[in-house]
C-alpha cells in the first residue's frame, strides 16, 4: 500500500479537524496538570496550517511536511510548538522530493520525527509526555509491519498502543514539561501531549482504514 501527496494533504486536513474538535478536551487535560492551553495552542497552529495549505498543493510530500512543521513552530509556541514542529520538519526531511510513501518511508519518517522530539525536548519514555504515546506506537508499527501484516493493520495496532501509552501516563509522575512541577501530584492525570499525539496517529489509522475499503 502506498500513500500519495493527496493522501498526505487529506490526513493533515483531517488532523486539523480532529484537533479543533478536541480543543476543549485537550485544554481541560492541560488545566489539571499544566496551564490550560494545549488544545488552544494546537488549534491555533493547525488553523494556520489549514490557511497555508493552498500554498503547499503543488509541492512534494517532503516539502509539505517541512512547511507544516515550520507553520507549527511559528504559531503554536509553548512546549508543543517546537516539538510537533520539529516532528513534522524531520519527517519532511526524510522523504524530501517524494510524491509517494511506502511502508519503509512511513517507518523512517516516524522514526526521524520521534528522535527529533527527543533531541529537542530531552525527554524519554516514562517522563509523561507525548513520547509515551509515540514510542510504543512506533515500536508496534515496526513489529507489525515486520510480521508482514500490512500498513492498515500496522497503523491500527500502532494507534492502539498509543492509546495504551496515553492511559499509562495516568499512572506516572511527570519528569518533563510543566506537569513536572506538580511532582507526585501529577499522578492520576492523563498527559495532554500524549493524548494529542494519540489523536493524530488515530487520525492516520482511520484514514488508511477508509482508503483500503
Amino acid at each position: 500500500m502506498i500513500l500519495t501527496t493527496n493522501d498526505v494533504l487529506n490526513i493533515i486536513s483531517n488532523i486539523s479537524e480532529v484537533i479543533e474538535t478536541n480543543r476543549q478536551y485537550l485544554t481541560d487535560l492541560d488545566a489539571a496538570i499544566g496551564d490550560a492551553d494545549h488544545g488552544i495552542n494546537l488549534d491555533r497552529g493547525f488553523k494556520a496550517v489549514k490557511e497555508k495549505m493552498p500554498q503547499f498543493l503543488d509541492k512534494d510530500i517532503g516539502a509539505i511536511l517541512k512547511n507544516v512543521g515550520m507553520v507549527l513552530v511559528s504559531t503554536v509556541g509553548g512546549a508543543s510548538g517546537p516539538l510537533y514542529g520539529t516532528f513534522f520538519m524531520r519527517m519532511g526531511n526524510v522523504v524530501s522530493g517524494k510524491n509517494t510513501l511506502d511502508e519503509n518511508d512511513i517507518v523512517a519518517m516516524f522514526e526521524a520525527g520521534l528522535s527529533g522530539i527527543k533531541e529537542r525536548g530531552k525527554a524519554q519514555a516514562g517522563d509523561k509526555t507525548m513520547i509515551d504515546a509515540m514510542e510504543p506506537a512506533l515500536n508496534e508499527l515496526k513489529s507489525t509491519l515486520s510480521e508482514g501484516r500490512g500498513l492498515k493493520e500496522a497503523i491500527e495496532a500502532a494507534a492502539n498502543d498509543a492509546y495504551n501509552g496515553v492511559l499509562m501516563t495516568k499512572d506516572i509522575a511527570a519528569k518533563k514539561g510543566r506537569a513536572s512541577y506538580l511532582g507526585e501530584r501529577s499522578i492520576g492525570h492523563q498527559d495532554p501531549g500524549a493524548t494529542s499525539a494519540y489523536l493524530m496517529i488515530k487520525t492516520v489509522a482511520d484514514y488508511v482504514d477508509k482508503l483500503q475499503q
Partner: protein
C-alpha cells in the same frame, strides 16, 4: 468569566495595541511579529537584551523594555512561550554589533523556542548567548527533570544585566553578571484564588473558601500542595523557610527583596507581607538593602504573591542602584 476584554482570542493583540498607545516615547513594535523593542533600537555599542514569555504576566515583559533594562520583549499567547521566529526577529532588531543576551525563564517551551531562535540568529552571524532563570524553590531541583521554574526574581536579572549592558560591558560580561544574579536568587509563591485564561474561559483549578495553594507558579498551574488558609505571618514563614535554607541565606547577608503581587492581591496586603518578611529577616540578621513591592510578574487576575530574595555583593548593589527608565520600572540612581 468577567473580563474587561472584547474577544478572548484578541486579548494579546489588543493589549499590545493599548500598550503602544500608552508609551510611544519608549517603544515601538516590529512589523508582523509580537515583539516590542526600544524606540531607538538597536543601541550602537551596547549588548542587546532580549526576554519574553507568554502573555498574562503584565507588566512582564514588555513593561521592562527601556533604558537600563531590556532591549526587546517577545510576547507569546497567554501563558504560551513566544515562537522562534518572533525571538529571531527580536534578536536581529536589537543587535547593536556587540551581540545579544537571551534571558529565558526555565520552562520547556520557553527554552526550546528561544534556543531555536538562537540557532537561527547564529546562522546570520549574530553572537547570541543565553541565561536560564530558575529561581522558584517550590519545585525540587533534579537533573532528571525539567528543573525549577523561573518566576518573579527574573526582574532582578533584567535590572542588573540591563545596568551592566548599559555601562557598555561585553556580551560575556553581561552574561556572567546575569548568571551571578541567578545563582544568588531564590523565590517562592502562593495563591488564594486561581486565574482564568481568557480563551479557556474557566479557572485551571478551584480552591475552597478556606483553602490556599502553596508553591504556585505564574501560569495558573496548581502548586505543590494545598493548605487551610492561615495568617500572613504563617504564610510568609512557610515560604521564607524554604527560600532561606535553599541558597542558603546566612547571618550577615545583604539582600534585595521583592514582594510580587500575582494580580489581584491589594498592595496593602503586599505591604503586610513585607512587614512579615522584614521581621523574619531581622530575626535571622539578614539585612534588606533594597525592597520592591508591587505587581512585577503577574498571573492574570490570580490572587496571591511571591517573595524573591537576591543575595548581594558590591557589584550587584551598584548595578541594582543604577537608574532605569522603562514603562513599568523606573528608578532614580
Amino acid at each position: 468569566m468577567k473580563k474587561l476584554i472584547n474577544n478572548p482570542d484578541e486579548v494579546v493583540k489588543e493589549m499590545i495595541s493599548g500598550f503602544l498607545y500608552a508609551y510611544p516615547s519608549y517603544l515601538r513594535k516590529l512589523d508582523n511579529v509580537d515583539v516590542v523593542v526600544r524606540k531607538t533600537s538597536p543601541v550602537d555599542g551596547k549588548v542587546g537584551l532580549v526576554s519574553g514569555g507568554g502573555s498574562g504576566h503584565e507588566p512582564a515583559h514588555a513593561g521592562y523594555v527601556g533604558k537600563g533594562m531590556l532591549d526587546a520583549a517577545c510576547l507569546g499567547a497567554v501563558f504560551t512561550s513566544p515562537t522562534p521566529d518572533q525571538i529571531y526577529e527580536a534578536i536581529r532588531a536589537v543587535d547593536g554589533g556587540k551581540g545579544v543576551l537571551l534571558i529565558i525563564k526555565n520552562y520547556t517551551g520557553d527554552v526550546m523556542n528561544f534556543e531555536m531562535a538562537k540557532e537561527m540568529a547564529e546562522m546570520d552571524g549574530i553572537k547570541v548567548l543565553e541565561v536560564i532563570v530558575d529561581d522558584d524553590v517550590a519545585v525540587e531541583n533534579s537533573t532528571y527533570t525539567q528543573g525549577r521554574r523561573g518566576i518573579a526574581g527574573t526582574i532582578f536579572v533584567h535590572k542588573i544585566a540591563g545596568a551592566k549592558a548599559e555601562e557598555g560591558a561585553e556580551l560575556e560580561e553581561v552574561k556572567e553578571v546575569a548568571e551571578k544574579v541567578i545563582k544568588n536568587l531564590r523565590s517562592m509563591g502562593m495563591a488564594f484564588t486561581p486565574c482564568i485564561v481568557p480563551a479557556a474561559g474557566k479557572p485551571s483549578f478551584t480552591l475552597d473558601e478556606d483553602e490556599i495553594e502553596i508553591g504556585i507558579g505564574i501560569h495558573g498551574e496548581p502548586g505543590t500542595h494545598r493548605e487551610k488558609i492561615k495568617g500572613a505571618k504563617e504564610i510568609v514563614a512557610e515560604l521564607m523557610d524554604k527560600i532561606i535554607i535553599d541558597l542558603p541565606f546566612r547571618d550577615g547577608d545583604e539582600v534585595a527583596l521583592m514582594i510580587n503581587g500575582l494580580g489581584s492581591t491589594p498592595l496593602s496586603e503586599l505591604f503586610i507581607a513585607n512587614k512579615e518578611v522584614n521581621e523574619y529577616l531581622l530575626g535571622k540578621n539578614i539585612n534588606v538593602y533594597k525592597t520592591y513591592v508591587g505587581e512585577y510578574m503577574t498571573s492574570l487576575e490570580m490572587s496571591g504573591f511571591s517573595i524573591s530574595l537576591l543575595k548581594l555583593d558590591e557589584e550587584l548593589k551598584s548595578l541594582l542602584d543604577a537608574s532605569a527608565d522603562t514603562p513599568a520600572f523606573k528608578q532614580f540612581k
